[in-house]
Protein backbone atom coordinates (compact mmCIF):
# COMPACT_ATOMS: atom_id res chain seq x y z
CA UNK A 1 0.00 0.00 0.00
CA UNK A 2 2.52 2.63 1.12
CA UNK A 3 5.35 2.94 -1.36
CA UNK A 4 7.80 4.72 0.91
CA UNK A 5 10.90 5.26 -1.17
CA UNK A 6 13.91 6.15 0.96
CA UNK A 7 14.77 9.16 -1.23
CA UNK A 8 11.34 10.62 -1.76
CA UNK A 9 9.57 9.65 1.44
CA UNK A 10 5.87 8.86 1.29
CA UNK A 11 4.27 10.55 -1.68
CA UNK A 12 1.08 12.52 -1.22
CA UNK A 13 -0.68 10.20 -3.63
CA UNK A 14 0.25 6.97 -1.83
CA UNK A 15 -0.53 8.56 1.53
CA UNK A 16 -4.05 9.46 0.41
CA UNK A 17 -4.52 6.05 -1.22
CA UNK A 18 -3.39 4.38 2.00
CA UNK A 19 -5.61 6.47 4.25
CA UNK A 20 -8.63 5.89 2.00
CA UNK A 21 -7.91 2.15 2.04
CA UNK A 22 -7.58 2.05 5.82
CA UNK A 23 -10.71 4.15 6.43
CA UNK A 24 -12.63 2.04 3.94
CA UNK A 25 -11.50 -1.10 5.74
CA UNK A 26 -12.57 0.32 9.11
CA UNK A 27 -16.01 1.33 7.81
CA UNK A 28 -16.49 -2.07 6.16
CA UNK A 29 -15.51 -3.79 9.43
CA UNK A 30 -17.79 -1.58 11.55
CA UNK A 31 -20.78 -2.58 9.42
CA UNK A 32 -19.66 -6.01 8.22
CA UNK A 33 -18.58 -7.68 11.47
CA UNK A 34 -21.69 -6.75 13.50
CA UNK A 35 -23.76 -7.82 10.47
CA UNK A 36 -22.49 -11.38 10.88
CA UNK A 37 -23.62 -11.40 14.51
CA UNK A 38 -26.85 -9.70 13.48
CA UNK A 39 -27.73 -12.39 10.96
CA UNK A 40 -26.71 -15.32 13.16
CA UNK A 41 -28.12 -13.93 16.42
CA UNK A 42 -31.44 -15.86 16.72
CA UNK A 43 -29.85 -19.12 15.55
CA UNK A 44 -27.38 -19.03 18.42
CA UNK A 45 -29.93 -18.46 21.19
CA UNK A 46 -30.18 -21.48 23.49
CA UNK A 47 -33.83 -20.87 24.46
CA UNK A 48 -35.07 -22.87 21.49
CA UNK A 49 -33.67 -26.16 22.80
CA UNK A 50 -35.75 -28.76 24.65
CA UNK A 51 -37.75 -27.19 27.44
CA UNK A 52 -38.92 -29.15 30.45
CA UNK A 53 -41.06 -28.13 33.34
CA UNK A 54 -43.02 -29.59 36.23
CA UNK A 55 -46.56 -28.26 35.81
CA UNK A 56 -48.86 -28.25 38.87
CA UNK A 57 -52.32 -29.53 37.93
CA UNK A 58 -54.20 -29.26 41.22
CA UNK A 59 -54.89 -30.82 44.61
CA UNK A 60 -55.27 -34.59 44.68
CA UNK A 61 -57.68 -34.61 47.61
CA UNK A 62 -60.55 -33.62 45.32
CA UNK A 63 -60.00 -36.61 43.06
CA UNK A 64 -62.47 -39.44 43.37
CA UNK A 65 -61.03 -42.92 42.95
CA UNK A 66 -61.80 -44.35 39.51
CA UNK A 67 -63.15 -41.11 38.06
CA UNK A 68 -61.07 -39.43 35.31
CA UNK A 69 -60.73 -35.71 35.82
CA UNK A 70 -59.61 -33.29 33.09
CA UNK A 71 -57.09 -30.63 33.98
CA UNK A 72 -56.32 -27.91 31.45
CA UNK A 73 -53.55 -25.35 31.24
CA UNK A 74 -51.90 -23.26 28.57
CA UNK A 75 -48.30 -22.48 27.86
CA UNK A 76 -47.14 -19.63 25.67
CA UNK A 77 -44.27 -20.16 23.33
CA UNK A 78 -42.42 -17.21 21.82
CA UNK A 79 -40.39 -17.51 18.66
CA UNK A 80 -38.88 -14.20 17.60
CA UNK A 81 -41.70 -11.71 18.27
CA UNK A 82 -44.48 -14.19 17.62
CA UNK A 83 -46.27 -15.71 20.60
CA UNK A 84 -48.26 -18.91 20.29
CA UNK A 85 -50.51 -20.17 23.09
CA UNK A 86 -50.74 -23.95 23.33
CA UNK A 87 -53.49 -25.50 25.43
CA UNK A 88 -52.94 -28.81 27.13
CA UNK A 89 -55.50 -31.24 28.52
CA UNK A 90 -54.52 -33.91 31.02
CA UNK A 91 -56.74 -36.68 32.39
CA UNK A 92 -55.86 -37.83 35.89
CA UNK A 93 -57.40 -41.03 37.23
CA UNK A 94 -56.94 -41.82 40.88
CA UNK A 95 -56.57 -45.53 41.43
CA UNK A 96 -56.87 -47.51 44.62
CA UNK A 97 -53.74 -47.39 46.73
CA UNK A 98 -52.84 -43.80 45.93
CA UNK A 99 -51.45 -44.45 42.46
CA UNK A 100 -52.53 -42.46 39.42
CA UNK A 101 -52.95 -42.77 35.67
CA UNK A 102 -52.00 -39.50 33.97
CA UNK A 103 -52.88 -39.22 30.27
CA UNK A 104 -52.58 -36.59 27.64
CA UNK A 105 -55.96 -36.00 25.97
CA UNK A 106 -54.26 -35.91 22.56
CA UNK A 107 -55.32 -38.89 20.48
CA UNK A 108 -52.40 -41.00 19.28
CA UNK A 109 -53.96 -41.27 15.84
CA UNK A 110 -54.04 -37.71 14.41
CA UNK A 111 -53.82 -35.53 17.53
CA UNK A 112 -57.50 -34.69 18.00
CA UNK A 113 -58.62 -34.31 21.62
CA UNK A 114 -60.28 -37.27 23.29
CA UNK A 115 -62.90 -36.79 26.00
CA UNK A 116 -64.10 -39.03 28.77
CA UNK A 117 -67.65 -40.33 28.32
CA UNK A 118 -68.97 -41.30 31.72
CA UNK A 119 -71.97 -43.23 30.37
CA UNK A 120 -69.85 -45.25 27.92
CA UNK A 121 -66.93 -45.64 30.32
CA UNK A 122 -64.51 -44.79 27.52
CA UNK A 123 -62.35 -41.98 26.18
CA UNK A 124 -63.77 -41.14 22.74
CA UNK A 125 -61.99 -39.32 19.97
CA UNK A 126 -64.52 -37.36 17.85
CA UNK A 127 -62.45 -37.40 14.64
CA UNK A 128 -62.29 -41.08 13.70
CA UNK A 129 -64.18 -42.70 16.56
CA UNK A 130 -61.09 -43.92 18.35
CA UNK A 131 -61.94 -45.42 21.71
CA UNK A 132 -59.69 -45.88 24.74
CA UNK A 133 -60.37 -47.63 28.04
CA UNK A 134 -60.06 -45.92 31.42
CA UNK A 135 -56.50 -47.18 31.72
CA UNK A 136 -55.63 -45.64 28.35
CA UNK A 137 -55.47 -48.86 26.39
CA UNK A 138 -57.01 -49.20 22.92
CA UNK A 139 -60.54 -50.52 22.64
CA UNK A 140 -61.25 -49.83 18.99
CA UNK A 141 -60.41 -47.37 16.21
CA UNK A 142 -57.47 -46.43 14.00
CA UNK A 143 -55.08 -45.28 16.73
CA UNK A 144 -51.71 -47.04 16.78
CA UNK A 145 -50.85 -46.64 20.49
CA UNK A 146 -52.56 -46.30 23.86
CA UNK A 147 -52.92 -42.74 25.25
CA UNK A 148 -49.63 -41.05 26.05
CA UNK A 149 -48.77 -40.90 29.71
CA UNK A 150 -47.10 -38.11 31.63
CA UNK A 151 -44.54 -38.70 34.31
CA UNK A 152 -46.01 -37.31 37.53
CA UNK A 153 -45.10 -36.54 41.11
CA UNK A 154 -47.04 -35.50 44.21
CA UNK A 155 -45.79 -32.78 46.50
CA UNK A 156 -47.75 -31.38 49.45
CA UNK A 157 -51.05 -32.73 48.12
CA UNK A 158 -50.61 -31.31 44.61
CA UNK A 159 -50.06 -33.40 41.52
CA UNK A 160 -47.41 -32.23 39.04
CA UNK A 161 -46.73 -33.51 35.55
CA UNK A 162 -43.43 -33.48 33.75
CA UNK A 163 -43.94 -31.46 30.57
CA UNK A 164 -41.18 -31.92 28.03
CA UNK A 165 -41.37 -29.91 24.82
CA UNK A 166 -39.20 -30.37 21.79
Amino acid sequence: MAHAGPEYGLSRRSFVTGVVGILGGIIAAVVGLPAIGYLLSPSLKSGTATKEEWVPLGPIEELVVGEPRLFAFTRTKQVGWERTANSYGVYVVRKAGDSYDVFSNVCTHLSCRVSWKEDENEYVCPCHDGRFAKDGSIISGPQPRPLNRFEYKIEEGTIYIHLVEA
Binding site: Y38, L40, G80
Partner: protein, 219 residues
Amino acid sequence: MAAQILTWLDERLGLTGIYKTVLDRKVPKVNWAFTLGSATLFLAVMQAATGIFLSAYYVPHPDQAYDSINYIMNDVAFGWLIRGIHHWGATLMVITVVLHMLRTFFYGAYKYPREVTWVTGVFLLLVTLGMGFTGYLLPWNQRAYWATTVGTSITETIPFIGPFINQALRGGTDLSTLTLVRFFSAHIWMLPAALFGLIGVHIYLVIRLGISKIPSEDE
Protein backbone atom coordinates in the same frame (compact mmCIF):
# COMPACT_ATOMS: atom_id res chain seq x y z
CA MET B 1 2.43 -15.20 -6.47
CA ALA B 2 -0.29 -12.70 -5.65
CA ALA B 3 1.17 -10.32 -8.22
CA GLN B 4 1.13 -13.10 -10.82
CA ILE B 5 -2.53 -13.86 -10.12
CA LEU B 6 -3.37 -10.16 -10.40
CA THR B 7 -1.49 -9.87 -13.69
CA TRP B 8 -3.28 -12.96 -14.99
CA LEU B 9 -6.68 -11.54 -14.03
CA ASP B 10 -5.84 -8.03 -15.26
CA GLU B 11 -4.87 -9.36 -18.68
CA ARG B 12 -8.31 -10.96 -18.99
CA LEU B 13 -10.57 -8.51 -17.12
CA GLY B 14 -8.84 -5.18 -17.78
CA LEU B 15 -8.94 -4.22 -14.09
CA THR B 16 -6.19 -1.60 -14.40
CA GLY B 17 -8.08 0.05 -17.22
CA ILE B 18 -11.26 0.21 -15.13
CA TYR B 19 -9.35 1.52 -12.12
CA LYS B 20 -7.64 4.24 -14.17
CA THR B 21 -10.84 5.30 -15.90
CA VAL B 22 -12.97 5.33 -12.77
CA LEU B 23 -10.61 6.48 -10.03
CA ASP B 24 -7.52 8.01 -11.65
CA ARG B 25 -9.47 10.62 -13.54
CA LYS B 26 -7.97 14.05 -14.12
CA VAL B 27 -9.85 16.58 -12.05
CA PRO B 28 -9.57 20.38 -11.91
CA LYS B 29 -8.55 22.00 -8.63
CA VAL B 30 -11.75 21.87 -6.62
CA ASN B 31 -12.86 22.06 -2.99
CA TRP B 32 -14.56 19.83 -0.43
CA ALA B 33 -18.03 20.64 -1.79
CA PHE B 34 -17.09 18.40 -4.72
CA THR B 35 -17.09 15.35 -2.42
CA LEU B 36 -20.87 15.59 -1.81
CA GLY B 37 -21.70 13.33 -4.75
CA SER B 38 -19.34 10.62 -3.50
CA ALA B 39 -20.72 11.09 0.02
CA THR B 40 -24.24 10.55 -1.32
CA LEU B 41 -23.15 7.46 -3.24
CA PHE B 42 -21.48 6.08 -0.13
CA LEU B 43 -24.67 6.65 1.87
CA ALA B 44 -26.77 5.01 -0.85
CA VAL B 45 -24.57 1.91 -0.67
CA MET B 46 -24.78 1.88 3.13
CA GLN B 47 -28.57 2.20 2.93
CA ALA B 48 -28.71 -0.71 0.51
CA ALA B 49 -26.49 -2.90 2.71
CA THR B 50 -28.26 -2.12 6.01
CA GLY B 51 -31.65 -2.28 4.29
CA ILE B 52 -30.91 -5.77 3.00
CA PHE B 53 -29.93 -6.82 6.52
CA LEU B 54 -33.11 -5.31 8.00
CA SER B 55 -35.23 -7.33 5.58
CA ALA B 56 -33.94 -10.47 7.31
CA TYR B 57 -36.30 -9.73 10.22
CA TYR B 58 -38.80 -7.08 9.19
CA VAL B 59 -42.32 -8.25 8.32
CA PRO B 60 -44.54 -5.85 6.32
CA HIS B 61 -47.81 -6.73 8.01
CA PRO B 62 -49.83 -4.48 10.34
CA ASP B 63 -49.85 -7.15 13.07
CA GLN B 64 -46.13 -7.78 12.95
CA ALA B 65 -44.30 -4.75 11.51
CA TYR B 66 -44.02 -2.91 14.82
CA ASP B 67 -43.18 -6.05 16.81
CA SER B 68 -40.58 -7.18 14.30
CA ILE B 69 -38.82 -3.82 14.54
CA ASN B 70 -38.96 -3.98 18.33
CA TYR B 71 -37.37 -7.40 18.02
CA ILE B 72 -34.60 -6.00 15.80
CA MET B 73 -33.95 -3.19 18.28
CA ASN B 74 -34.02 -5.24 21.49
CA ASP B 75 -33.29 -8.89 20.77
CA VAL B 76 -31.11 -9.17 17.69
CA ALA B 77 -27.38 -8.69 18.21
CA PHE B 78 -26.38 -5.28 16.78
CA GLY B 79 -29.92 -4.76 15.50
CA TRP B 80 -29.86 -1.28 17.02
CA LEU B 81 -26.69 -0.55 15.04
CA ILE B 82 -27.97 -1.80 11.68
CA ARG B 83 -31.29 0.01 12.05
CA GLY B 84 -29.59 3.09 13.51
CA ILE B 85 -27.34 3.38 10.47
CA HIS B 86 -30.33 2.92 8.16
CA HIS B 87 -32.41 5.49 10.07
CA TRP B 88 -29.77 8.21 10.34
CA GLY B 89 -28.26 7.37 6.96
CA ALA B 90 -31.63 8.14 5.38
CA THR B 91 -31.78 11.59 6.93
CA LEU B 92 -28.16 12.27 6.08
CA MET B 93 -28.63 11.15 2.49
CA VAL B 94 -31.44 13.65 1.91
CA ILE B 95 -29.15 16.37 3.29
CA THR B 96 -26.12 15.42 1.16
CA VAL B 97 -28.21 14.98 -1.98
CA VAL B 98 -29.69 18.48 -1.56
CA LEU B 99 -26.29 20.03 -0.81
CA HIS B 100 -24.87 18.21 -3.83
CA MET B 101 -27.60 19.73 -5.99
CA LEU B 102 -26.99 23.22 -4.56
CA ARG B 103 -23.26 22.89 -5.26
CA THR B 104 -23.97 21.88 -8.85
CA PHE B 105 -26.43 24.73 -9.25
CA PHE B 106 -24.31 27.52 -7.78
CA TYR B 107 -21.18 26.48 -9.67
CA GLY B 108 -23.19 26.26 -12.87
CA ALA B 109 -22.06 22.68 -13.33
CA TYR B 110 -25.39 21.69 -14.90
CA LYS B 111 -24.57 23.54 -18.15
CA TYR B 112 -23.41 22.09 -21.49
CA PRO B 113 -22.41 19.28 -21.79
CA ARG B 114 -23.78 18.11 -18.44
CA GLU B 115 -27.52 18.73 -18.87
CA VAL B 116 -28.37 15.02 -18.88
CA THR B 117 -26.34 14.50 -15.70
CA TRP B 118 -28.42 17.25 -14.10
CA VAL B 119 -31.71 15.73 -15.28
CA THR B 120 -30.81 12.28 -13.95
CA GLY B 121 -29.78 14.07 -10.74
CA VAL B 122 -33.21 15.66 -10.44
CA PHE B 123 -34.81 12.22 -10.74
CA LEU B 124 -32.32 10.86 -8.21
CA LEU B 125 -33.41 13.58 -5.77
CA LEU B 126 -37.06 12.63 -6.30
CA VAL B 127 -36.36 8.93 -5.88
CA THR B 128 -34.37 9.63 -2.70
CA LEU B 129 -37.30 11.59 -1.29
CA GLY B 130 -39.58 8.72 -2.35
CA MET B 131 -37.37 6.30 -0.46
CA GLY B 132 -37.66 8.51 2.62
CA PHE B 133 -41.43 8.79 2.25
CA THR B 134 -42.05 5.05 1.78
CA GLY B 135 -39.54 4.02 4.44
CA TYR B 136 -41.15 6.29 7.00
CA LEU B 137 -44.35 4.19 7.03
CA LEU B 138 -42.66 0.84 7.57
CA PRO B 139 -42.28 0.97 11.41
CA TRP B 140 -46.10 1.17 11.47
CA ASN B 141 -46.18 3.20 14.68
CA GLN B 142 -48.44 6.19 15.35
CA ARG B 143 -46.00 8.66 13.85
CA ALA B 144 -45.53 6.58 10.70
CA TYR B 145 -49.25 5.99 10.28
CA TRP B 146 -50.28 9.61 10.63
CA ALA B 147 -47.34 11.02 8.69
CA THR B 148 -48.36 8.83 5.76
CA THR B 149 -52.02 9.73 6.24
CA VAL B 150 -51.09 13.41 5.96
CA GLY B 151 -48.54 12.86 3.18
CA THR B 152 -50.91 10.91 0.96
CA SER B 153 -53.78 13.33 1.74
CA ILE B 154 -51.73 16.17 0.26
CA THR B 155 -51.96 14.56 -3.17
CA GLU B 156 -55.74 14.69 -2.85
CA THR B 157 -55.70 18.49 -3.26
CA ILE B 158 -54.50 18.21 -6.87
CA PRO B 159 -57.42 19.24 -9.12
CA PHE B 160 -59.30 16.42 -10.87
CA ILE B 161 -56.75 13.62 -10.49
CA GLY B 162 -55.95 14.20 -6.78
CA PRO B 163 -58.36 11.64 -5.30
CA PHE B 164 -57.18 9.06 -7.82
CA ILE B 165 -53.50 9.60 -6.93
CA ASN B 166 -54.33 9.41 -3.23
CA GLN B 167 -56.13 6.09 -3.67
CA ALA B 168 -53.42 4.75 -5.96
CA LEU B 169 -50.80 5.50 -3.30
CA ARG B 170 -52.86 4.02 -0.47
CA GLY B 171 -54.20 1.05 -2.41
CA GLY B 172 -57.70 2.09 -1.37
CA THR B 173 -59.46 4.94 0.35
CA ASP B 174 -57.77 4.42 3.71
CA LEU B 175 -54.39 3.37 5.01
CA SER B 176 -54.39 -0.40 5.34
CA THR B 177 -52.39 -3.59 4.94
CA LEU B 178 -52.36 -2.79 1.24
CA THR B 179 -50.70 0.58 1.88
CA LEU B 180 -48.03 -0.99 4.06
CA VAL B 181 -47.23 -3.74 1.57
CA ARG B 182 -47.11 -1.48 -1.47
CA PHE B 183 -44.92 1.03 0.37
CA PHE B 184 -42.66 -1.85 1.36
CA SER B 185 -42.51 -3.08 -2.22
CA ALA B 186 -41.76 0.42 -3.47
CA HIS B 187 -39.14 0.88 -0.76
CA ILE B 188 -37.20 -2.32 -1.34
CA TRP B 189 -37.75 -3.06 -5.06
CA MET B 190 -39.20 -0.37 -7.29
CA LEU B 191 -37.45 2.74 -6.00
CA PRO B 192 -34.05 1.05 -5.41
CA ALA B 193 -34.18 -0.34 -8.96
CA ALA B 194 -34.81 3.17 -10.27
CA LEU B 195 -32.23 4.62 -7.88
CA PHE B 196 -29.36 2.34 -8.84
CA GLY B 197 -30.25 2.49 -12.54
CA LEU B 198 -30.12 6.28 -12.43
CA ILE B 199 -26.94 6.22 -10.34
CA GLY B 200 -25.37 4.08 -13.08
CA VAL B 201 -26.24 6.63 -15.78
CA HIS B 202 -25.27 9.56 -13.54
CA ILE B 203 -21.85 8.14 -12.73
CA TYR B 204 -21.23 7.03 -16.31
CA LEU B 205 -21.79 10.63 -17.38
CA VAL B 206 -19.53 12.00 -14.63
CA ILE B 207 -16.75 9.64 -15.77
CA ARG B 208 -17.36 10.35 -19.46
CA LEU B 209 -17.53 14.13 -19.17
CA GLY B 210 -15.30 14.72 -16.17
CA ILE B 211 -16.22 17.25 -13.50
CA SER B 212 -16.45 20.95 -14.19
CA LYS B 213 -13.99 23.41 -12.72
CA ILE B 214 -15.01 26.17 -10.36
CA PRO B 215 -16.07 29.09 -12.56
CA SER B 216 -13.78 32.10 -12.46
CA GLU B 217 -14.95 35.71 -12.05
CA ASP B 218 -14.69 36.65 -15.71
CA GLU B 219 -16.82 33.71 -16.85
